[in-house]
């Protein structure tokens, strides 16, 4: 096992390939470089999304007009939703950490199709540019919400086509990443890396990749149909020509519900790596966690209708969708129980990633349990399309995926950059961020239960109190975010050189130098019978 730190030697960050400088990055087929490209581009988009979120909260500080008019507000939440969903959390963990770490974790030197991998990133960039075009050119920023519901989506006079096309291209990028990962996991494992020895993060990527592959094309074709509807009036979703707007919602959610599991599964995988490492203990119920991953991926296909309980579906369909929704929550519960049991009798080393992991479990529980409220028919009729839903999905998308993202970046940071961050600042950032988070989204549960609809530019005075608290929360949280970001950026350049295995983990990525060399391993690794990702002493 190499013990050297490679910050000053040759590694994937410094090597000189066919091209120099920036080109050496944007044309590199090295999975780690592509992972970093994703990290940077996603972070940029993420900051844009955050600014839009803050602007919305600012607008909602008081009833009536605060800083923007209604049209701008509608455009703002649309763009905020599109950016956050399609450009940040869907590619988030798989494209960033999947690319950076997965091949090393399975003992491969790269993904199965490195060129395709680069193409995926380029498509991502192309998709982003197309969506940005929709913002800047044409008759105004799209204002349909990220759901593009028909018939409004072909009635609105705003410049929707580039946004739709952009979302389509982003989907294609996501499909290709999924395809690449599936083949990699099937074919590139090193000798001895049996399916039952795969790290759980890799298993979740596997489940995610299947969803990406099988669900994304459905939304692709749906968006194409909306575009054709706008261009040629083919009538498929236009009630005036016999189309059924509810069918649009079916197709949209057939993708978008599984998509929420694209967002959360890799997050769960990252947490399943971090908890054993910092507990220095074998993960509790390895096979149960795998089974729950696969069943989330599968049952997740069958519950999309819970977004449509008030849409005018048949009662029979509502009944089944509600039932299945409850069933899909069981595997998530299993995971939570196993994580907590892993801590039992461990030897817990409390470090920044572990703080994030523990707070992840908490916010994920709140988000998930509020999902159960939404899954129940009577309760959803009442709170559907209110601030309650907004609270649910921020808790789980951003609380879940976002917290796991931060856990993961603090966990793998020393490996990725070969340097260590300042732990004290990282912990302060975490604390401020978490407090801000709770203050920002908890009031929305209350507002929703009082009946405040979502996507409301203006609200009645009775909702004022909750909104003020929520807006203050957003400011606290952004403070925390800035602390974290500054700390990480500074440390990536100037931090102390990191050890090869600072957390004493057992997975393969911690056996290679930090940062890893170009082809990852000097000699092809192999696993003996006793080796395993969680076999601690």
């Amino acid at each position: 096992m190499p013990t050297t730190n490679a910050v000053n030697g040759s590694n994937y960050l410094t090597y000189q390939g066919k091209y120099k400088g920036l080109l050496g990055w944007i044309l590199s087929t090295d999975h780690k470089r592509i992972g970093l490209l994703y990290l940077y581009s996603i972070c940029v988009m993420f900051c844009v999304g955050v600014l839009l979120g803050l602007a919305m909260k600012f607008e909602l500080l008081a009833p009536g007009k605060t800083i923007m008019d209604a049209q701008t507000y509608n455009a703002t939440f649309t763009v905020h939703g599109v950016i956050m969903i399609f450009m940040v959390v869907i590619p988030g963990l798989p494209a960033v950490f999947g690319n950076l770490m997965m091949p090393i974790m399975i003992g491969a030197e790269d993904v199965a199709f490195p060129k395709l991998n680069l193409l995926s990133w380029w498509l991502y960039v192309l998709g982003v540019i197309l969506v940005l075009c929709a913002l800047i050119f044409g008759e105004g920023t799209p204002d349909t919400g990220w759901t593009f519901y028909a018939p409004y989506s072909f009635k609105t006079g705003t410049n929707l086509l580039p946004a739709i096309f952009g979302a389509f291209v982003l989907g294609f990028s996501s499909i290709l990443t999924g395809l690449n990962f599936l083949v990699t996991i099937h074919r590139e494992r090193c000798p001895g890396m049996k399916w039952t020895k795969l790290p759980l993060f890799v298993w979740t990527l596997y489940g995610t990749a299947w969803i990406q592959l099988l669900a994304t094309p459905v939304v692709g074709i749906t968006l194409v149909l909306v575009a054709l509807e706008r261009l040629f009036n083919i009538g498929v979703f236009d009630p005036a020509l016999g189309g059924d707007p509810i069918l649009y919602q079916h197709l949209f959610w057939i993708y978008s519900h599984p998509a929420v599991y694209i967002m959360i599964l890799p997050a769960m995988g990252a947490i399943s790596e971090i908890i054993p490492t910092f507990s220095q203990k074998h993960i509790f119920g390895y096979k149960a966690i795998i089974a729950s991953t696969l069943s989330i991926a599968f049952v997740g296909y069958l519950v999309w209708g819970h977004h449509m309980f008030t849409a005018g579906m048949s009662g029979t369909a509502q009944y089944y969708f509600s039932l299945l929704t409850f069933i899909v929550s069981i595997p998530s519960a299993i995971k939570v129980f196993n994580w907590i049991s892993t801590m039992y009798k461990g030897s817990i080393n409390i470090q920044t990633p572990f703080y994030w992991a523990v707070s992840f479990i908490f916010v994920f529980m709140v988000g998930g349990l509020s999902g159960l409220v939404l899954g129940a028919l009577a309760a959803d009729i009442y709170v559907h399309d209110t601030a309650f839903v907004v609270a649910h999905f921020h808790y789980i998308v951003f609380g879940g995926t976002g917290f796991a993202f931060f856990a993961a970046i603090h966990y793998w940071f020393p490996k990725i950059f070969g340097r260590m961050y300042d732990t004290a600042w990282a912990n302060i950032g975490w604390l401020v961020f978490t407090i801000g988070f709770l203050a920002l989204y908890s009031p929305m549960f209350y507002l929703g239960m009082m009946g405040m609809p979502r996507r409301y530019y203006d609200y009645l005075p009775e909702f004022h109190g909750g909104n003020i608290l929520s807006t203050f929360g957003s400011w606290i949280m952004v403070t925390g975010f800035i602390i974290i970001l500054v700390n990480l950026i500074r440390s990536a350049k100037k931090g102390e050189p990191a050890e090869v295995n600072p957390w004493k983990s057992k997975t393969l990525e911690w056996t290679v130098p930090s940062p890893p060399p170009v082809l990852n391993f000097e000699t092809e690794p192999f696993l003996t019978e006793e080796d395993g990702p969680y076999n601690y002493e």
Binding site: Y15, L179, H186, G235, G243
Partner: protein, 208 residues
């Protein structure tokens, strides 16, 4: 800067199994892409059974059947090309792929004529003729007809482009009995196109 000029070329990673699974996975996404459209078709057919019935009668079953037949033949020829390559008969393989390509051209010409006739009758997406004389169900039928056969046509074109690459590979020897993946995948893709047509044909032309 000796250090940095480390050789980073990836070693030759040719793995036929990988590219085969890769192709299958891609086919799965294509199936679900069309799957979405079949779903739309199923729903609207259920809601407008009679109108679909009426509208389908306006399609020319003979042209449809002819296209089915030639597409099936082309599927066979491209499959045979694989056998030919495995047996080492490179020339036959090239010939068979070329025949497949030509059949693809034939299919498109047929489709073009068929669409042309529809256009002459004033039937195209959003046309006035349709809006004025047709019921909602018929409008939906033709909307779907144009979208689905159109998308299928796009896939034919993509398949032919891949065939072009396969022929080039065969000619310059990059595709050979040891490395047949490109030809195999080209075949797989073409069969997918065939598979979809197998369902489109009865759904649009036969159910009258």
């Amino acid at each position: 800067m000796e250090e940095h000029v480390h050789h980073v070329e990836h070693p030759d990673m040719y793995d036929p199994e990988s590219s085969k699974i890769g192709m299958w996975l891609f086919i799965f996404t294509e199936l679900l892409l069309f799957g979405g459209l079949f779903l739309v078709y199923a729903v609207y057919r259920y809601m407008n059974a009679d109108a679909f019935h009426l509208a389908a009668e306006q399609l020319n079953t003979t042209i449809g059947a002819f296209n089915t037949v030639i597409l099936l033949i082309s599927s066979m020829t491209v499959a045979m090309a694989t056998t030919a390559l495995q047996k080492g008969h490179k020339k036959i393989a090239i010939g068979l792929v070329a025949v497949t390509f030509l059949i693809g051209v034939g299919f498109l010409i047929n489709k073009w004529i068929e669409w042309g006739v529809k256009f002459d009758h004033g039937i195209w997406p959003g046309s006035e003729h349709m809006l004025e004389t047709m019921s909602q169900g018929e409008i939906l039928f033709f909307g779907l007809y144009f979208v689905m056969t159109g998308l299928h046509g796009v896939h034919i074109i993509v398949g032919m482009i891949i065939m072009g690459y396969a022929i080039r590979g065969l000619l310059n020897g990059k595709v050979n009995a040891e490395r047949p993946s490109l030809l195999d995948n080209c075949g797989l893709y073409w069969h997918l196109v065939d598979l979809i047509w197998i369902f489109l044909f009865p759904l649009f032309y036969l159910i009258t």
